[in-house]
């Protein structure tokens, strides 16, 4: 299924993903989050908080 990058408008085929998964736009490299899987849609990944880390 095709998704569109909200940052640069690139369109590409994305499958086998789960909701909440982080993917990278193949064109502009921005981190995106899979918002839904049926149909597949993506949005900008959450912004890193100050206390985020491993």
């Amino acid at each position: 299924m095709n998704v569109t990058c909200p940052e640069c408008g690139a369109e590409w085929e994305l499958s086998g993903v789960e909701q909440g998964e982080i993917v990278t736009c193949p064109d502009c490299g921005v981190d995106l989050e899979v918002l839904s899987t049926n149909p597949v849609s993506v949005g900008l990944a959450p912004e890193e908080g100050e206390d985020w880390g491993e």
Partner: protein, 304 residues
């Protein structure tokens, strides 16, 4: 399941599949691998997205907060969110892979340093100060270059190396300007001469699963900063230090960062939320599978 449950009672086997919750901020390759490993084992597994949680602190049990699990694995990157969630789960008697206390000791670099020092583990000299003037004094004490790190957060963000007092003052003033009180807690560490690499060791339940060298041209070697992973043989010294570091913070699952100093290996930090994406490419060990097996062995035993 074998062995004793965390509360010391002999477990009775569950008559239904174990319910494993994986606390996440989002799914990275590590979490995807963990979910897949759990499904392969016939475990009921579900991601728990931190931003969707409404934790009922007044409730005597977990289901009221949608947290009806036998065991929870913390893979959340937002440290304050995981801290509160783990403490609530602890109150409700739900075992977590890594206790709230172990996570607290790892999510704050100053607590981490204290715990490592208390356990007599080689660790770069570290000073803590709460004001620009005293932090400058701390820099003088460790000598230049001095390394300044935020006590919370990781991935090498806001790490700074001050080559002299002027630079140190500029960095410290700038940190203070960031506003959040955390940035006015100055964690000052000696700069240790080392090769352009560090060692990431992965431990699950007193067992070293694998190690890799992370190399980078930049002095901050961190996978999130684009460091490359290559296999590192697990020597007895690596194993001993990694296990001792885990024990020092009470972690059952952790990524330990080691550096090679002139005086031998030293532990930089223990990460309870240790990433292993790099390690997944350098080892045949099924890290996600071992993590899931460990979670199952800790699963709360209750009447189905």
């Amino acid at each position: 399941m074998t062995g004793m449950s965390p509360n010391g009672h002999a477990p009775t086997p569950l008559t239904r599949p174990v319910r494993l919750g994986v606390l996440v901020s989002y799914l990275r390759p590590e979490e995807k691998a963990i979910l897949a490993a759990a499904r392969d084992r016939g475990i009921e597994v579900a991601p728990i997205f931190d931003r969707q949680l409404v934790i009922d602190l007044s409730s005597p049990d977990a289901p009221g907060s949608g947290l009806d699990f036998d065991v929870v694995l913390d893979r959340c990157v937002a440290h304050s969110r995981s801290g509160y969630t783990l403490r609530a789960l602890q109150r409700w008697g739900i075992p977590t892979l890594n206790s709230a206390e172990a996570v607290r000791l790892c999510d704050d670099k100053a607590e981490n340093s204290l715990a490592l020092e208390l356990a007599g583990i080689p660790h770069p000299r570290t000073l803590l100060a709460f004001d620009v003037a005293s932090a400058l004094q701390a820099c003088e004490t460790v000598g230049y270059p001095a390394v300044l790190k935020p006590v919370t957060g990781s991935w090498g963000r806001l790490l700074a190396r001050a080559n002299g007092p002027e630079q140190a003052r500029a960095i410290l003033e700038q940190k203070k300007e960031l506003g959040s009180f955390h940035h006015a807690i100055f964690y000052v560490q000696e700069y240790v001469e080392k090769p352009d690499r560090d060692i990431r060791v992965y431990v699950v339940a007193d067992r070293v699963l694998a190690a890799s060298y992370r190399t980078a041209k930049h002095w901050v070697t961190n996978a999130a900063r684009g460091a490359e992973s290559i296999p590192c043989p697990v020597t007895p010294e690596i194993e001993d230090l990694a296990l001792r570091a885990c024990a020092a913070v009470g972690a059952r699952l952790a990524g330990i960062d080691l550096i090679e100093t002139r005086d031998g290996l030293a532990v930089v930090e223990v990460n309870t939320g240790g990433e292993f994406k790099g390690l997944m490419t350098t080892t045949d060990v099924d890290i996600a599978g071992v993590i899931v097996d460990e979670a199952v062995s800790m699963a709360r035993v209750r009447a189905a």
